[in-house]
């Protein structure tokens, strides 16, 4: 449920859905996100520049010369978007991952922490339907949940300076896929050859908040010969 709307400076608002970080809360966030995105695309509301969902909040930025926070808050309050279903806006995406030891940099660390062996960890990962909570920090990077609690582990004490593009990492109940080479502190368990983000394509990001990701195990040979469309 939408608990509170607050101003962020003079050209933004935040819609707060409470403190819980779980799929139920995030699905409420995504519903409002879908509603705002549709309303912008169908020109039912003007002046909105960006709408950014996160675990438990939706932030909306607008152009002050075109609208004001009061107008946007009234628009949200006067519409019932809660009955919208997520499935019509969302999709299931299969992401191939190679769990070869060459790419599973932190598998030992995870084995030590979880007391599970390599194959058990991979199976847990493959058997999870991951929900796309949000996308960000860097372009296209998805934040996926939820891992089974027996796989939970903290960030690395010292983040790596360089993590290769395509690396698949886990921290606590979340999983991510690095869409650019970047620094990072996630436990890396594999690599995907699948380009989730390409600014030059019409469909810039394969994933959108609210989608579901299923991982599929591939061999190193498949990884090397994988062709992005």
């Amino acid at each position: 449920m939408l608990k509170k709307i607050s101003n962020i400076g003079d050209c933004g608002i935040t819609c707060d859905f409470g403190d819980e970080v779980n799929k139920k809360t995030n699905k409420e966030v995504i519903k409002l996100f879908n509603f705002i995105r549709d309303s912008v695309n169908n020109k039912k509301i003007k002046g909105i520049l960006n709408y950014t969902p996160s675990y438990n909040k939706l932030i909306i930025n607008f152009e002050l010369g075109q609208t004001k926070s009061k107008e946007i808050i009234e628009f949200i309050k006067s519409n019932d978007y809660s009955k919208m279903t997520l499935s019509e806006k969302s999709k299931v995406v299969e992401v191939p991952v190679c769990y070869d030891e060459e790419f599973a940099l932190d598998i030992k660390r995870l084995e030590d922490k979880t007391k599970l062996n390599f194959q058990e960890i991979v199976n847990e990962h493959l058997n999870t339907d991951f929900f796309v909570y949000m996308i960000g920090f860097v372009p296209g990077q998805p934040f996926l949940g939820d891992l089974n609690s027996n796989l939970y582990h903290d960030r690395l004490d010292t983040p790596r300076i360089k993590i290769n593009k395509g690396s698949v990492g886990v921290v606590e109940k979340f999983c991510t896929i690095y869409t650019f080479e970047s620094p990072g502190g996630w436990n890396i368990i594999g690599k995907t050859p699948f380009d989730l983000f390409n600014i030059n394509k019409i469909n810039t990001s394969v994933l959108s908040p609210g989608d579901t990701v299923k991982f599929k195990s591939i061999s190193k040979k498949d990884l090397l010969s994988f062709k992005n469309e």
Partner: protein, 307 residues
């Protein structure tokens, strides 16, 4: 068409920008766009373009450009020291915020911004730039934008659309606001900070550190004490948000900010004072003043009156 500016020196941080790339922050793509909107728009007005036309933004030291081909009507806006060097070698000092004609073989040497950070170089008819998702803004970190998302490089050629040698030049007088007070509204996590730190934030001066770029401006000053938590659940970020990480030193998030962040925000800079803020040079001081939404919205009306 073979009319272009040849880049003899690219400058420190020269990128093409416009008013920003919107509607993609939920995919991790920040709006970017020019840092100082007023100076940017004025550069376009000076040459008779629509204000949203892409222009070249430079910081501190700008580029040295040589015109190859036909004449062009151009303008440099901001507080900028530059020379125009004619083909025969005569050098004269240029006037910012006034358009002028350059001819084949002329050079424009943008030496520096003066007590400010950003300046803009615009051309009548616009540069030939490839739009990416409706914008020519450059986000170097993610290699998004014209020029393959890169800063200006030495030896590259900047092509433009229109040759112009007869159009009348124009001058716009700008009163640059050098006041060091930056108006802010309370941030979402203002209440995370101790009573003393809430007061300190508005009473003390903050020094702008050298670690300042298009992504953010790091400040040095009275350490702000967080009484609740130095991390929050990651949430979407808005330009002008002032976040305070564990070391208690504020960082103001600027046009190329990350799209999502996990530090508490003590305040947000109001739109009317953003241009003034980004033009402050490292080493200078600023002081924050608390205002409410109504004051910020009125200040915006005064601000847009200058465009």
């Amino acid at each position: 068409m073979n009319n272009y500016f040849k880049v003899l020196r690219p400058g420190i941080n020269s990128t093409f920008q416009d008013l920003g790339r919107f509607g993609l922050q939920h995919l991790g793509i920040v709006a970017s766009g020019c840092m100082d909107q007023l100076s940017f728009c004025i550069s376009n007005k000076l040459v008779g373009n629509k204000v949203s036309e892409g222009a070249l933004e430079f910081a501190y030291q700008g580029p040295l450009l040589e015109l190859v081909g036909g004449s062009a009507l151009v303008a440099i806006s901001g507080r900028v020291n530059f020379n125009i060097i004619s083909k025969n070698g005569d050098t004269k000092q240029g006037s910012p915020n006034e358009s002028f004609i350059v001819s084949n073989g002329d050079k424009i040497d943008i030496l520096s911004t003066v007590n400010s950070v950003y300046g803009y170089f615009a051309i009548f008819g616009g540069f030939k730039l490839k739009e990416i998702k409706g914008s020519v803004s450059t986000l170097v970190r993610a290699k998004i934008g014209p020029n393959n998302g890169n800063k200006l490089q030495v030896e590259e050629k900047i092509f433009f659309n229109k040759i112009e040698s007869t159009r009348k030049t124009k001058k716009i007088k700008i009163d640059f606001d050098s006041n060091y007070t930056i108006r802010v509204m309370k941030g979402l996590q203002f209440h995370y900070f101790s009573k003393k730190s809430q007061e300190d934030f508005f009473l003390r001066e903050y020094n702008i550190s050298r670690l300042t770029d298009r992504m953010g401006m790091r400040l040095e000053g009275e350490r702000l004490e967080n009484k609740v938590s130095v991390n929050i659940k990651s949430e979407g970020i808005t330009k002008g948000s002032i976040q305070v990480p564990g070391d208690g030193q504020p960082i103001i998030l600027l046009s190329d900010h990350p799209t999502i962040g996990g530090y508490p925000k003590i305040a947000n800079v109001i739109t009317a004072d953003y241009d003034k803020l980004v033009q402050k040079t490292p080493g200078s001081k600023i002081k924050f003043k608390l205002v409410n939404l109504a004051v910020a919205e009125n200040a915006f009306q005064d601000y847009v009156g200058q465009f």
